[in-house]
Assembly symmetry: D2
Homo-oligomer: 344 residues x 4
Amino acid sequence: MKAAVIGTSGYTGLILLRLLANHPHVDEIIPVSSSQYGKNILSIDPGTGENIINKCTSTSAKCISIEEAVKLNPDIVFACLPHLKSAVLCKPFFGTSIVIDLSADLRLNDPLVFEKAYNAPVSNPALLDKAVYGLSEWNYAKIKTADIIANPGCYPTASLLPLLPPVKEGFVKGICTINAISGISGAGKKLKEYLLFCERTESIWAYSPGTTHRHTPEIQQEISLINDNIKILFTPHLAPLKRGMVATATVQLTQQIIDKDLQELYKSYYSECRFIRINQNIPSSRDVWGSNRCDISWHIEDNTLMLFSAIDNLIKGASGQAIQNMNIRFGFPEESGLAISNQV
Amino acid sequence: MKAAVIGTSGYTGLILLRLLANHPHVDEIIPVSSSQYGKNILSIDPGTGENIINKCTSTSAKCISIEEAVKLNPDIVFACLPHLKSAVLCKPFFGTSIVIDLSADLRLNDPLVFEKAYNAPVSNPALLDKAVYGLSEWNYAKIKTADIIANPGCYPTASLLPLLPPVKEGFVKGICTINAISGISGAGKKLKEYLLFCERTESIWAYSPGTTHRHTPEIQQEISLINDNIKILFTPHLAPLKRGMVATATVQLTQQIIDKDLQELYKSYYSECRFIRINQNIPSSRDVWGSNRCDISWHIEDNTLMLFSAIDNLIKGASGQAIQNMNIRFGFPEESGLAISNQV
Amino acid sequence: MKAAVIGTSGYTGLILLRLLANHPHVDEIIPVSSSQYGKNILSIDPGTGENIINKCTSTSAKCISIEEAVKLNPDIVFACLPHLKSAVLCKPFFGTSIVIDLSADLRLNDPLVFEKAYNAPVSNPALLDKAVYGLSEWNYAKIKTADIIANPGCYPTASLLPLLPPVKEGFVKGICTINAISGISGAGKKLKEYLLFCERTESIWAYSPGTTHRHTPEIQQEISLINDNIKILFTPHLAPLKRGMVATATVQLTQQIIDKDLQELYKSYYSECRFIRINQNIPSSRDVWGSNRCDISWHIEDNTLMLFSAIDNLIKGASGQAIQNMNIRFGFPEESGLAISNQV
Amino acid sequence: MKAAVIGTSGYTGLILLRLLANHPHVDEIIPVSSSQYGKNILSIDPGTGENIINKCTSTSAKCISIEEAVKLNPDIVFACLPHLKSAVLCKPFFGTSIVIDLSADLRLNDPLVFEKAYNAPVSNPALLDKAVYGLSEWNYAKIKTADIIANPGCYPTASLLPLLPPVKEGFVKGICTINAISGISGAGKKLKEYLLFCERTESIWAYSPGTTHRHTPEIQQEISLINDNIKILFTPHLAPLKRGMVATATVQLTQQIIDKDLQELYKSYYSECRFIRINQNIPSSRDVWGSNRCDISWHIEDNTLMLFSAIDNLIKGASGQAIQNMNIRFGFPEESGLAISNQV
């Protein structure tokens, strides 16, 4: 297996290098970057170890261009590129390599919804039909045969995994309020003042409320595929940690249920899923730090259902789920190269 | 003015010492503690400066007992004691000193509600009628003449200040979902494993959801005094910072409103309030770090109103509001001894 | 008193606004910025309160240009500008206003030393003779009459205050190794990748060791004025906090001394200094967070003396000491507008 | 291979469970704890994944007693117990299992030195001769045949690895000043006020300076074995991060050397060592977060040599080095189960 990582200077790209280096079925890693072209990945991140370097056999661990990478015929391509650029720059790989796109370019089925959220038309609309939304546990069957996988956003992953089973089962209705809190790495490695250490430490901040965040239509889309009478109101918050995300959802029940009903519900959907854990207690993000798990719990209050989930935004929320999708697509054991316990 | 602070080892007590040291109308500070009896406050907190020491004239800056403090006839007593103990231990001061109780003992009017929330009967039920709920901007008139002031909890302060005006005006109805996020100091200085640095850094955690947190009946009580058809579902979260709190509330509108309606609404309630600021942008907790301000903003999404607020949980959420209440009670300028700008 | 702050977008400028707003002898604040020209300071920092706004009477709290500020005849000018620019841009104020320069431009007496450290010639060499090095406790007499004050760097302040008395008394000799650790705000509010939250959290880093940091010649200069046989080796470290600095110095003794000798030594130098505290225990940076104090302690190990100090790098290490120097220069009580207790 | 971990509630024990779960040559993990006796390890740490649970075959993942563990005949025992207790409680395993003791009980060869540092006599003096000091890269040959391995402290590991080669080669002399900075997990999971989140965030603190820290005699012992004219002065500092440690050493050179000399020196000692990296730039602790690496660099200033190193205090400074020692002892590849790249 040869795996190319396009965009090796951001957090998702760097984490992918680490996960691929420990993956038992990946023999070669191809680092690709335009901004870091020609640089050794060790000079980009001094934390890089020889386990990564040693798998970069064709490139001597130097970042190469997309054109050069195409010639190396990677079996799989992980695109860690900005939205609007990803589906364009990856063109040479479609059809010859399996592509897992970690950007938002191919997540939204409706071009109008995309355009409204991203202030620009879909860059490669012909691909929308072909791309499978890579929420691993939910679209398992489709991912198995997909050649293009649109890797979900971190907020949608944390929101959808607890919410989809009760939606599917018809347990909930009406407005679903989701408040999520993310570590700072969710915003990427951008030179913005609000991402400086001194601006984020000792601070919490809500932003892009209601339907104004770009991840909201993504959550709404997957819910509406099942029940289009549920409306998502999603509000993200930033807290001063690097990695970690929790989501707290509140929604009305259609019927009186008890704990046991939910235990059975989640069991019926997720009992085979090694990366989903149903908890009695509300999970904290530390429980899944560095792990590909999504931990889930709930609270019933009269006619209201509250759902709680925790993921590592860089792992299950990005690079880890991308590896999981690769594992599914190539028939490897689903947990290959991924941590099940937390790492902190 | 002589001010006694009972309980000088916790965070609210220590902050009160600092605020009182800079207060232009307080001449003497009396530190009271049973666990630290006889110790100089400098040995409790090496951050203590001589501005505090110098105001502890009667006690040579050593912690004295409640009995000794009674004899010094303080004009005002700040009780920073655990709930269930506070209203009992402060008995000797009732009737002779103004008492501001930072515990929960006198916040809930209904003894049954208290007993359910705190797993114990109200310790001093005779006082319930006499204590005024010290949400400064809302109970200003009553605080002016109160001899016992029940200082609000941090979560209720952050939740009620944005919510009360639209509730009062009849703008909202039904279930009001409040998700709040707090810095760790909100849990006090307790030797609990979950409060260790290594347990809280790089972690976010929801706890006590729905109606199970002790602050929920406090929020519900103040809302129900105005409209008893609104139900509060409150879920707190802990994030890895020392000080800071934000609340995000979601509630249905009774009528179609626009931004201007809310601008006018809040103006009509708060234009004279120096510690409330109505923001165009969603406030972050850093904006009010060390300040006694509560910053408020909102977002309208169809028939849903979302409210955002930020406070410093130790200042406006505890010790600062206690000073504000003292200022109101004694007729000092409301901002005496309190910061309006953030301090970070 | 009218005070102008030139450079209101960085951390030292913002802190100065807060300190000046609470200063009893400053009536008017003039915010000056080229990059933020015309903007209200509230839009630069939403933490700004009306106590600051209300003192910006001439400018309606909008940032004005240096030319405009000159016309307002400020009594004192605080220059929070980058080195190499400060002494040039402040030209119009020299001679008419007292200038406190928080940059490095006028700290080094020897132009060759400056040029080597900053890779550029001194921008305004004519001023070197006139500028007084503003280490408040040490140059008190000169500061009282200075028209230009070169405010010391944070590392030099933390290093020199404990070290100067034993150097002056002839207690120490040879190589003095100073290892200091700083919070991230010491690096200013710059859009550099290494200052991002995710790059600095969970990390410690030594940099610019030996004599390669720009603050080393500043420390060496002040030591050499007293004893030019002592050589400073200074190594700074960055740790993941916003504010705080400690310095640990190790130097050989010239004679056998005991604790009592040092107690008397420091007493003789600093007993009148309200912002210096001699501690029995090693101070932590939290003890002085938000305060203008420098806490000092020591440890004697055979013939070796170890010195420990803690300051808030933004207060005693920058803006607080600048205010202290203003107080000294204008004959105000030295602690006016400054905190003696920590604020956290 | 059966591996027992004695003491599964602290940080080193929990990390060992994770490392052993991913170790290709360990089939069974035996969790042992008296304080958590009978509890499932999942209830001790909800971050525990089924990869750990599944390897706890004999105990159903419940903590058992030492007596019960003895009967399971572990091949190797990792003792994560407090000093003074470890060498006593592990008695039943000596002679039958290989024991790696992560406490200090068997690190110091001289009982008098131990007694002075730990205020108590060596608990099991008969073992001192048999225990090998487990600094993997330095005592490789002895570790290969050792039945008892005294795993080094974190500060000694970070201090000794850069220092031993120049000491051995006779490059340095006199007093060696080491200033080290540690993340909070180095202090363990103890219910002490100074370890609370609110006490450690935004603070830096030096403690136990000179020769007063318990790790100083450990560093001194290993240096003195080679050159007993070098005196170690060691001062640790705490900074607000969970994991990470850097050491900055300053020592006089015996001869004029240049960079190339050191490059060759370290190459000759460490070129075969996969977990030691010689850096051109000063390493930061983040570079090795979660990795078993020790990164090293230096700076020459006239006759002074400065050495810089970075480790993860819980990995190379504790549990990781313990696994490395197991790998050496059992002839597994040295990097089995250990990360070479950072994990953050």
